[in-house]
């Protein structure tokens, strides 16, 4: 697909306003986030995706990171998701999303 539209004035990229929107959470929780993501990435690649899904290695890291987000996340939409995701209503919606996708895998 090719789009003909391009505008010379919009090609100047201004420096990013250092994670403006969720800056408080980003600044306050960056170390806990890094620790969690590092744990998660290793666990997923080396264990979960390779058949060893019987143990979740990153529970401790996750609880610390989540507690930080609960304290510092400012955006109200994101906060709502953070808090709502603990409830079952959130899962119902989530499961509906993924199951509606399971058809239609047969083109070649």
């Amino acid at each position: 697909m090719v789009f003909g539209r391009s505008k010379s004035s919009s090609s100047t990229v201004s420096p990013p306003p250092a994670a403006a929107a969720s800056s408080a959470a980003a600044a306050a929780c960056s170390e806990l986030r890094a620790a969690y993501h590092e744990c998660f990435n290793r666990w997923y690649a080396e264990k979960f995706a390779k058949g060893q899904w019987h143990k979740d290695d990153c529970v401790g890291e996750w609880h610390k990171y989540r507690a930080c987000l609960e304290e510092h996340l400012e955006d109200k939409n994101l906060r709502q998701i953070l808090l709502e995701s603990e409830t079952s209503a959130y899962y119902a919606q989530f499961d509906a999303d993924s199951s509606s996708r399971k058809g239609g895998t047969s083109t070649k």
Partner: protein, 196 residues
């Protein structure tokens, strides 16, 4: 409404490609390629150790392309940005079924929904012909502008701009996933040889 579908075959096994997909937004080396991504947080995760299922939701804060002046005036977030770009929060929900080797990812915008709704659905499956070696990726992006009669013409332009940006970014996203796959491959080879 605009719908795009894209397919790609990764010549890497499913476990490596999905591991790379998780790292896409948090890998420091990808910051330049994915410079429109301002911030990523994990908002939720759940592991079902019996079924081998993992569910997660992440927020992805994205800088939009510069918006037309008339829309800038309507958006408080954009109004404060000198470049005319808006910061837009998206939520990515992922479901991995490890025994089935299936990963499904849905990304939706949560901000600016009064103006535009973007939904990107991706699936990662073992390739039917070489299930142990390759991975098939499919992505469907739907962009829908809300009917704002007074702004219909402008909204249409925004839709096109967003579509352009999304296509550029999903191409970049695939490049990033390819690069992380090569990195993970090298790392696995290194770990294997150093273990001897």
């Amino acid at each position: 409404m605009v719908v795009y579908t894209q397919e790609h075959v990764y010549r890497h096994p499913w476990d490596r490609v999905t591991a790379a997909a998780w790292r896409k937004f948090t890998d420091p080396a990808s910051r330049t390629a994915l410079s429109h991504v301002a911030d990523v947080h994990t908002l939720h995760r759940r592991v079902d150790p019996e079924a081998g299922r993992l569910q997660a939701a992440r927020s992805i804060t994205v800088r939009s392309p510069p918006l037309p002046f008339i829309l800038r005036r309507l958006l408080p977030a954009a109004a404060s940005s000198p470049s005319g770009a808006a910061l837009c929060h998206c939520v990515e929900t992922s479901l991995v079924d490890a025994p089935r080797r299936a990963m499904d990812v849905v990304v939706r915008n949560v901000s600016l929904r009064g103006l535009i709704e973007v939904e990107e659905r991706s699936t990662y499956r073992p390739h039917p012909e070489r299930p142990e070696e390759w991975t098939q990726f499919r992505q469907e992006t739907t962009i829908r502008c809300r009917p704002l009669s007074a702004l219909a013409a402008v909204a249409e332009k925004v839709e096109t701009r967003c579509a352009e940006r999304f296509l550029q970014n999903s191409a970049k996203g695939r490049e990033v996933v390819e690069r992380i796959c090569r990195y993970l491959e090298a790392e696995a080879a290194g770990a294997a040889s150093s273990a001897i």
